[in-house]
Symmetry: C2
Subunit: 397 residues, 2 copies
């Protein structure tokens, strides 16, 4: 989508990630957005061996602290609480892909030379609201013309899932396989909201939410925060040998009015942002060793696998059936963290938590979830694919 | 605060502004945030002779469309309405300095090479809410510890004004001079909310809001939008000869808890962001020919003049008395646009509208407001100086 300027001495100008953290995701009773952001931010600084005083830019990915909690200015409050003044702060909102947008913004802050060290912290506090209130806040991301007619994101997901299953002759169980796989992976993630396996039968018998999708096709409502610390590769070496490099990152929109899309099973934002990230990195789909995809709804894992070139259109479900995306035995493990499905989805945190998982995989700190990987990808979906950010990270070990 | 990377062939890498626009500011009944953003965005593209298809990144500066209007995802809706897909979009929030933060983010997008052409549109729709509701939404930017005790931004302004007047032996009228000057300038701004002069007596007799500040010491509640189109200087030449260059830009926080500041008459964010912008540009206070300062409250014009080095501490009011900041006769005209005071303050638009005025002054399109200027400065204040962005632009004629 854009021709990025590459400096002559490419290596020195690459942007590195030198620290990563995430809080426990789940119901964090009595803790508020600022508590969660501060917890992840401090832990991330400690992980990198950095101080708050090192931070030039502090970016906060957060969709709706004003709507959820009546508190705005969280980025300034966080700078204060971390002791990072006079660090420049900004809140970044790209709905449910605010975290991915934060990675892109933080990358730009370093690559442009505006900041030497950028701390990116994302989070959302949601569970104190009823599911209805949360759904209303989230539904406000859709186009007014659709929103006013009562369309919410789960209903888009149901319509798309039906279209996909019928058109590509995929069994209903194939969606359940996604949920079962990601729940299985989440068992080994101590930060995940649900650290328990769920079998295909349970998923298929759970209550219908948006036909054909059932309760277990959806990610939960979650409180949580995650953080990454970014700097140039040159600066990175002053802190640590355990760093990864952002090899490619790009974002793209699709029509905001979802019903105007030509093919509801193709997410244009996934395709375009993936194309941009591949082009910038020099990698292609075959080079990716591990990926975190935005499984807010099970059907989205299919659409992203296809949009990113891991599978042909209509065939992602077959790869899942074949075990291609299994963590311990598959060729391309997907959502080793447990995904949004089992890990939870605190809107502003999710894209960053994807980055945390890929970072941990690439520096070899993923513990029981560890896979063999040199190149990892995250895909963070805003709205119903209204804007998508794809990031490719590379190990330096 | 940070050492910006400068490329060897500096000139080619400078970031240019090639188009600017603002809607009428005021009460825009029956029009909503998306209408206002689209109006400014389209006009800005037309001003530069560019198409929506040229736009790589579309940034929307907006503090609270969710709180004011129950609508989020405005950046994605705008990409759709402008026909700018698959342009990458992001919403930028830095409270009342969201516009300045947008300029900084757009600068980073070009300087990093992430985007070739970035359209920055900012706006806020506020007047459909009662003043009480608006004040509550805006007050949520302050620290929870202060907010819970009922402190709002006007009360901070009142406390600071009293401190300033008493400590520096400044007459109460000096604050009224700021309001009178900016109202006078606003008469010649066809986009301003109040295009009328207000005399010092009227100001001094207006109702008390936060002692010693009275009604006319405050900017109004406003609907409106403004936009800038940014690209590299090299790309700029493909569009137009009438462009300006962003010579310096930086942002900085101060303590979020206002009462923790050592000297309430010094805004650390103004000082630090100004220092960064001067350093990056190579200019100093004496080189600035025209400035737009964030006169949300009259007292803030004093504090910014002093923080940016235009006056010694406690002496800004004397410069205003001497006519130093008058538009037609002064050495350093301040708020030639009318400032927030007469132009209005639609939160997300204000910092961008400051940039629009400086752009128009530097390309010679300011009409009856035109002054002789090669270098201009904008200072956009978030919260009560919780985060501040200073931008310096340079003419290329």
């Amino acid at each position: 989508m854009s021709s990025r300027r590459q400096s002559a001495d490419g290596a020195a100008d690459r942007v590195a990630v030198i620290g990563a953290s995430m809080t426990e995701f789940g119901q964090r009773e009595g803790e508020w957005i600022l508590d969660l952001l501060a917890e992840a931010g401090l832990e991330c600084l400690a992980d990198a061996g950095a101080d708050a005083g090192d931070v030039d830019h502090l970016y906060v990915s957060n969709m709706a602290s004003g709507e959820f909690e009546g508190m705005t200015g969280v980025m300034n409050a966080l700078a204060h609480d971390l002791g990072a003044m006079p660090a420049y702060t900004q809140r970044i909102d790209q709905t449910s892909s605010s975290g991915g947008a934060g990675i892109y913004a933080a990358w730009q802050s370093i690559a442009s030379g505006a900041s030497d060290v950028t701390l990116l912290v994302g989070g959302e506090k949601m569970t104190h609201r009823t599911t209805g209130e949360s759904t209303d806040i989230i539904a406000s991301v859709t186009h007014p013309a659709e929103y006013k007619h009562g369309v919410t994101l789960p209903s888009f997901a149901g319509l798309t899932a039906r279209n996909y299953l019928e058109r590509f002759d995929a069994p209903r169980e194939s969606l359940a396989w996604v949920a079962a796989k990601n729940h299985k992976n989440g068992v080994d993630n101590p930060h995940a909201q649900f650290q328990k396996e769920v079998d295909v039968e349970t998923i298929l018998e759970s209550p219908i939410i948006a036909d054909p999708l059932r309760l277990y096709d959806f990610c939960p409502v979650t409180d949580g925060s995650a953080a990454l610390l970014l700097c140039s590769e040159e600066t990175a070496r002053e802190y640590t040998d355990d760093y990864v490099v952002i090899a490619g990152v790009d974002g793209a929109t699709d029509t905001h009015v979802v019903h105007e899309r030509e093919d509801p099973t193709v997410m244009g934002g996934v395709v375009e942002s993936g194309k941009g990230a591949y082009e910038m990195s020099g990698y292609g789909p075959d080079d990716i060793d591990v990926a975190e995809l935005h499984d807010m709804f099970t059907i989205l894992e299919f659409l992203q696998m296809e949009g990113l070139g891991f599978a042909e259109q209509g065939e992602a479900w077959k790869l899942i059936e074949d075990g291609y995306t299994e963590r311990d035995t598959g060729e391309l493990p997907i959502n080793t963290s447990g995904g949004l499905k089992s890990k939870g989805h605190p809107l502003g945190a999710s894209g960053i938590a994807q980055g945390v998982e890929i970072y941990e995989q690439l520096v070899g700190e993923a513990g029981p979830r560890q896979v063999d990987a040199d190149v990892g990808l995250c895909c963070n979906v805003g709205g119903f694919g209204n804007c998508v950010i794809t990031t490719i990270m590379e190990a330096t070990r």
